[in-house]
Assembly symmetry: C2
Homo-oligomer: 205 residues x 2
């Protein structure tokens, strides 16, 4: 693309560094800014920079927070003995939305993925092992995505905490509520048959 | 969405103001920034703000530029008597990419669209009429999108410059090069039959 302005080109190139945003989309977004008052762009860039500079990760669960210990970890009504292992903050938000979970979280910050150069050292795994070692955790719920990377990460963590004899569970995989059986993929349907639960348990919602 | 951090929420809300970017996408983009070094976010916000604050619109054609008169308008090899009327800078870039046009442009900055509150006063129409009035323009090429708004805008401009007796043309509509006739919509196919051109003319590329 040939730009008529160097300033425009710079802005487009910076925007196009976001994942999933190509040059054309970036140009559309930048031109949108030009149609808005200058204060709009100022507010946008200030809030991005402030967020990047000042955001804190909770010392206990590594979730994004405004305080050293996040609201979930400092909430006394939540079960400290139950810890759900998730990939990132979006998973925490998704689980919180269900209002079905009253334990704490541990945000890994990603999955082990040698292809992307992410090894166990890049993730918050050692602090999780320390937490288990200290004896506060009774059950660990694995809630990573069921991809090869997710399974590898689960297994890696499992191997490290195996000796401490705590309960480890994983969230149930199965047919989504409301879905038709005939359209489900066979792996999911297969797992939901193998891991069937007592009928009475399904009546609790 | 419930955010665990006010800073994160602000950043997501600002990003979600871009057209076509919802809260979920905004969150994904903002989390991407958190995985990058701080300097990345700084560069991004600086380039956006600099672009917004310092970008200039060419005094002659209203295209985005770094100078008072853009490179196209100041290029002596380009035909000043031929002016192509377009909606925004992306159309200029698209036409420039073809290398088939050696005239100048006039960027309206949008189309007349009462539904969106855009009247003729919001667009760079009066400066176009002045340009025609001054006698420098011999041919005006309308290259707006062929929607109701585009047609309205064309007609509005046409009515205002009718008295000056210059040539007005519009870019050809027809079947795209390489497209199959059977898949073309009937309006396009109809226009391409009505506006057929001499066969010899089609041999020039």
């Amino acid at each position: 693309m040939d730009f008529s302005s160097k300033l425009l080109e710079n802005a487009v190139n910076e925007m196009a560094q976001f994942p999933g945003i190509g040059k054309r989309t970036a140009l559309r977004l930048v031109l949108h800014l030009l149609k808005q008052p200058k204060s709009h762009t100022q507010k946008l860039s200030e809030s991005l920079q402030q967020m990047r500079d000042e955001v804190i990760f909770c010392k206990n669960c590594h979730n994004i927070s405004d305080k050293e210990i996040c609201e979930i970890c400092s909430n006394l009504n939540r079960n400290k003995e139950l810890v759900c292992v998730v990939e990132d903050i979006r998973d925490v938000m998704a689980i919180e939305n269900t209002s079905q979970y009253r334990g704490q979280y541990h945000v890994l910050g990603g999955k082990i993925s040698p292809m992307d150069g992410i090894g166990p050292g890049e993730l918050n795994i050692s602090s999780l092992v320390d937490k288990v070692k200290s004896g506060t955790v009774k059950e660990l719920v694995f809630a990573l995505s069921s991809t090869m990377e997710g399974d590898t990460t689960n297994f890696f963590i499992f191997k490290q905490i195996e000796e401490f004899n705590i309960t480890t569970t994983t969230i149930a995989r199965g047919i989504s509520v409301g879905d038709e059986l005939e359209y489900a993929d066979e792996v999911t349907l297969g797992r939901s048959i193998v891991n069937r639960i007592p009928f009475e348990a399904s009546l609790k919602k």
